[in-house]
Symmetry: C2
Subunit: 260 residues, 2 copies
């Protein structure tokens, strides 16, 4: 195990799919992958732990890909597990390189030095956010008025307690788009949809929104889907089909441009 090792200087920019899409929507999947690059070994985890929700958001990428196709949206997703670096956390937060996640210790993150934290930040966090930022700035400069929506999934049982919510809509500073998504989801789908569930901005889970959308006044929202509802490729595509009209209606209800 070589957690945080500095012998390798590879960086991990985001994967961009459908980059020439002409719609306003930019979908972001920060927890798309459970891949741990070789330089970080297995972080001291079992194969089962590395497949679990602590390592990624199972199903989120499949749903996001379906939505990108149905809505002519760009998709930006992460190539590295959240256990190496959680892209939805700032570098000084404990959760960025967590020593513990739910009921699991992460041995490879237990005693990171400042150099190791800086190395992971420079290898994973900064390239991802610069890639996403460059894409958003290009579209903003061209007058395409981007709308950013992040796609996440959550575990149906957390610390032993079942969660009833199926679809959560979480906001940062601007509630406009999330409010409309919630009302459209309740009107158009059978999902049990809730506001700021299973988390809210107060839990520090809106970092990507706060960093990439809020400073520019871009409409934005964070969506959370319970992962037992998207546990197969067919279920992922069905969920994309359920949510596409919700997002389409919510985006159509926005003002046409970005307020300068």
């Amino acid at each position: 195990m070589n957690a945080g090792g500095t012998g390798n200087t590879a960086v991990f920019p985001p994967v961009v799919e459908n980059g020439t899409a002409r719609g306003r929507l930019v979908l972001v999947c920060e927890h798309a992958s459970n891949h741990i690059p070789a330089r970080w070994g297995d972080l001291g985890l079992t194969a089962e732990q590395r497949m679990a929700h602590i390592a990624w958001d199972p199903g989120a990428l499949g749903v996001a890909r379906g939505l990108a196709r149905l809505l002519d949206a760009v998709l930006v997703h992460a190539p590295v597990s959240r256990l190496v670096y959680d892209l939805n956390r700032a570098p000084h937060m404990a959760g960025a390189m967590p020593a513990r996640s739910e009921v699991h210790d992460i041995p490879g993150n237990a005693a990171l030095t400042p150099d190791q934290r800086a190395t992971r930040t420079a290898a994973v966090y900064t390239p991802f956010h610069h890639g996403l930022h460059s894409l958003l700035m290009d579209r903003l400069a061209r007058g395409l008025a981007p709308v950013m929506v992040t796609i996440h999934s959550f575990t149906p049982v957390y610390f032993g307690t079942p969660r009833a919510v199926e679809f959560g809509v979480i906001h940062d500073a601007d509630e406009t788009l999330p409010r409309t998504i919630l009302s459209e989801a309740r009107a158009r789908t059978p999902l049990r949809a809730e506001w700021n569930e299973p988390y809210s901005a107060l839990d520090d889970v809106t970092h990507t929104l706060r960093l990439q959308a809020t400073p520019y006044g871009l409409p934005n929202a964070m969506l959370e889907i319970r992962n037992d509802l998207i546990a197969t490729p067919a279920a992922e595509q069905a969920m994309a089909g359920t949510l596409a009209p919700v997002l389409s209606a919510a985006i159509a209800a926005l003002p046409a441009g970005v307020t300068a």
Copy 2:
């Protein structure tokens, strides 16, 4: 003239001075330079216009360099004129590539296409902000708890009206550091120091603070110095000597870390 031309793919990252400084302070000078790279010709301006305050903040870089030396601070400054791209404005704002500044038309910015706006954004805005962001994230990951202060200058006469204010302190979302800088400036210096003068965040002048500091909870402030007070190298150094104890006291009064 080849304003916004795409024949050249050079990019313009920031200049970093004193990058190994161990103090918390990161000084930023977005309007340090009046340089217009050859690919953008002269933007249709006279030599006199290209020396005027519309092209840069005269004196700001000299003051910032003096402060960096006196306070063991990093200094990050721009290599390109604000008339090519104003780094303190988002790409969709008219002021990012202004067609008019105060009483001057900027012919080279009069009819930019979406491609030209995107090219300038990718060449000047994105590399500057990514360079600054990488530096801040490295220090944040290492636990150095950065404090960001931007250094600007303003013209003593604007649209024909003299300005009495000599030193302006401008805040974004967090007023803590700016409030202390203002009170220390009034207590320790003879400067006529004012709150949110000659501009405020409502004039969209706090973009760099909003993008780089606010999402991370980094203490931050924007400082404006009347440029007739820093019109020679000796005056720049004297102003740095006047302001260094102000900033030092204000930073010492901050909590030790960054709130996660």
